[in-house]
């Protein structure tokens, strides 16, 4: 018999706010000293009261709109109780009765064409702390930096049917949430985590089989392997009776390539949800709703279409730029200033992207202002600053976003000289000092000309129109 795999995902995404969801501690726990971003509220001490971070609601709504959800205009918070050392109050404040967004869809590409994955709901909640198991043999160390960092949990319907579809879905979520600038979605940083619910059924059947859940998956490759493994295990159980499937939570061991049933307590899953009396309902009025709706970004495929058909970029360039909203925004504002999509695309792709790569920064971390880049492009195009010097200015713009390209070029002595007398005297000296290269060029070696050209440019500190220099240099070689 042929089987199909039925998969639903619960994806946890850390929101990119500055402060935590219910207290004013820093939400940037990654890489911090243990328990440095903690206050009495987020380490479970009595007396402080939760006050909702407005931007968490902004981002929750935005994520909902990006995923075509209905936004609940009255959204409320609830308490979920259980004991675990990473949960200092022994309850998590989450949304159970009226989550911020419901009933959405995310479209993914599959070999068979587009497929819509239905979103059941998106709810806002606080993250748990982090447990460290490897400092001492008999002890678990507890770090509350991550406690109360805002999360959204995106719950899909069981509409996914393969590891490839899961990958496409997760990539699409990442793109949409990063475009909306609500989250980093970096599995390696733990800012995106995933629970996989999986069952199998005979192809064509509408009933669901026994479902197992693999919690806290944090790499796409591991998720793919786990799905393959679980699918095979379920089929084997059903076909060959190798084991009896039970609804349970399993842990994926990526090193061994196997999943294991987790030891669960008899009382697991008994969460006793109830409305949090300390958090008032959040009412999203039209003004608030519209301000978020108006701030939604153009989707990457729409940008791609516009870049290629309206702005005349090649597909490769358009694809590179649309990899990040930050690159798109930089490119688009640069075009507004310099008027040339091709120039702006060139600078963003060959200069900015490579600097980001060298610095080990993600494209979304770009801080260079597109308008400033546009002005720099104009300076180069007008021949006022040489390309090499412009690159140096751009590199400095990464460290100081306030740099004004003209003033900075002036200050650094990068303004191209139109003093032909100076150019001629430099060329004369270089040619006179290197008869070997001159002879080699005359003997047919093109490279020798480049060496001479480079020497002249260096002497002139780059402040020279390359066309002018070339003409003067060739004339001087002719004379020599």
């Amino acid at each position: 018999m042929r089987y199909e795999t039925v998969i639903g995902l619960e994806v946890h995404v850390e929101l990119a706010t500055d402060s935590k969801i219910f207290c004013s501690c820093s939400a940037h726990s990654y890489g911090a000293e243990p328990n440095d971003h903690v206050c009495p509220a987020c380490c479970g001490m009595p007396g402080m009261l939760p006050v909702v971070n407005r931007r968490v609601v902004d981002f929750g709504m935005k994520a909902g709109m990006m995923l075509n959800c209905h936004i609940n205009r009255v959204t409320t918070f609830d308490k979920k109780s259980y004991y675990y050392p990473d949960l200092p109050a022994a309850y998590q404040t989450t949304q159970w009765f009226a989550p911020v967004a419901v009933n959405g869809t995310v479209e993914i590409d599959t070999p068979a064409g587009k497929k819509a994955i239905r979103i059941k709901q998106i709810h806002m909640e606080e993250d748990a702390g982090k447990l460290v198991h490897d400092l001492r043999e008999d002890t678990t160390h507890v770090d509350f930096n991550r406690t109360s960092v805002p999360l959204i949990e995106i719950v899909s319907q069981p509409d996914l049917s393969s590891a490839a579809e899961v990958e496409a879905y997760l990539e699409r979520l990442k793109t949409l949430l990063r475009y909306a600038r609500v989250a980093e979605c970096e599995m390696a940083h733990g800012t995106m985590r995933c629970d996989v619910n999986l069952s199998i059924r005979p192809e064509g059947s509408t009933e669901y089989g026994v479902r197992t859940e693999m919690k806290n998956m944090n790499s796409i490759e591991a998720i793919k392997r786990a799905i393959e493994y679980e699918t095979a295990r379920h089929i084997d159980a059903v076909e060959n009776g190798t084991e009896v499937l039970v609804q349970e939570t399993r842990r994926w061991d990526d090193v061994k390539g196997k999943s294991y049933a987790m030891r669960t307590k008899e009382t697991a899953g008994d969460y006793r949800y109830f409305p949090d009396p300390n958090v008032m309902p959040v009412v999203i009025d039209d003004e608030w709703y519209d301000s978020i709706a108006d701030s939604l970004p153009e989707l990457p495929e729409v940008k791609f279409e516009r870049y290629t058909s309206e702005m005349g970029l090649g597909e490769y360039d358009a694809e590179q730029l649309t990899r990040s909203i930050a690159l798109c925004e930089c490119f688009e504002s640069a075009v507004e200033v310099c008027g040339s999509a091709k120039d702006a695309a060139n600078w963003v792709i060959s200069e900015i992207m490579s600097i980001l790569n060298t610095k080990g920064m993600t494209y979304d971390m770009l801080t260079v202002n597109g308008e400033t880049l546009g002005r720099l492009i104009v300076l180069v195009r007008d021949g006022k600053v040489g390309r090499a010097n412009a690159r140096r200015i751009l590199a400095d713009m990464f460290d100081d976003a306030t740099i004004d390209p003209e003033a900075y070029a002036e200050k650094m002595g990068f303004i191209v000289s139109n003093d032909t007398g100076l150019i001629e005297s430099v060329v004369k000296a270089v040619v006179a000092a290197d008869p070997a290269s001159v002879a080699a060029y005359k003997g047919g070696r093109e490279k020798a000309l480049m060496a001479l050209f480079g020497k002249c440019m260096k002497e002139l500190r780059g402040n020279c129109d390359p066309q002018v220099l070339r003409v003067v240099l060739l004339a001087e070689i002719e004379k020599a």
Binding site: P34, N35, V52, N53, V57, H133, T139, T140, K265
Partner: protein, 94 residues
């Protein structure tokens, strides 16, 4: 309320009762359940909207601003056990 349910409740709430206390707790449950029957005598709650908050205050939100007021050392002054800036518990098997 019976012993089996009570045992589950104890586990759920990380409490362990003596036999005598169990009888006592069951008496408490019985009394509360008897009380609760009064509610059905007085009211039909079927079409009533639940009321979580007694005052009509909505949308209490704060700006997304980081304020650091507390140092780790102070936060851990009441702690039974800490190590290298962490709170400590017996090893938790995952």
């Amino acid at each position: 309320m019976n012993r089996e349910t009570l045992r589950r409740l104890e586990m759920l709430n990380q409490l362990s009762l003596t036999e005598e206390q169990k009888d006592d707790v069951i008496r408490f449950f019985d009394a509360r359940e008897a009380d609760f029957e009064v509610i059905d005598k007085f009211f039909d709650t079927a079409d009533v909207e639940r009321m979580v908050h007694v005052m009509p205050v909505m949308t209490v939100v704060r700006e997304d601003k980081v304020i650091k007021k507390f140092e780790r050392e102070a936060l851990q002054q009441n702690a039974p056990e800490t190590d290298e800036g962490y709170w400590c518990v017996p090893r938790v098997l995952e």
